[in-house]
Symmetry: C2
Subunit: 112 residues, 2 copies
């Protein structure tokens, strides 16, 4: 079974910072309200998830993730309204990419 695959991401200063991984992380943060729980759900170490959030915030015009420590529930994480816009843009981009591979995949003889 052969398959055509495509992946797209955003680079800032030659360094990739927004792609499938960070996109999924943002969705988990939105769902869990916690960076540590989001990392666990993705089977990713907390350190890696934390570093990912730093890059996301650093290279964006506005912060994508707001982290809070201490407080009632010990702290937490949430995605900013700006992040929601970006996530939506990335989703629609992925949709168009998927349409392309579905269309072009049929034309490739070496997929057989």
């Amino acid at each position: 079974m052969k398959q055509l695959k495509i992946k797209c991401w955003i680079e800032a200063d030659g360094e990739k910072y927004y792609g499938p991984g960070p996109h999924e992380l943002l969705k988990q943060i939105q769902k869990e309200g916690s960076l540590s729980k989001a990392a666990e759900k993705m089977h990713m170490s907390y350190k890696k998830a934390w570093a990912m959030v730093q890059r996301l915030n650093q290279f964006s015009e506005e912060a994508l993730v707001i982290l809070k420590k201490g407080g009632q529930h010990g702290g937490g994480a949430e995605v900013s309204p700006y992040a929601l816009e970006i996530m939506k843009e990335y989703d629609t981009l992925q949709l168009k990419v998927k349409q392309l591979i579905d269309q072009e995949g049929k034309l490739l003889k070496f997929l057989k």
Copy 2:
């Protein structure tokens, strides 16, 4: 400076075997007529290039690279006519992919 990037490849049985790397390797083999020279040009170890060729041949209907050892010039490598077809298909696919990112990149607000 932010940039939208995209990459496409072919997987066989969930394992990626044809992508930018192998594609470039085939072009170098075609130019050099030698696997070791092609690997050197790509700053890649001979072992890695050799393993890449094995995967390419294994997952393809017909062999993509013909390796010959011994003989007048010690041996050599060449791409098959079938490989030329695949390389051409991949080139046109990349072109269409590039057109997509050029088109969609303008619509993304978070590229600014």
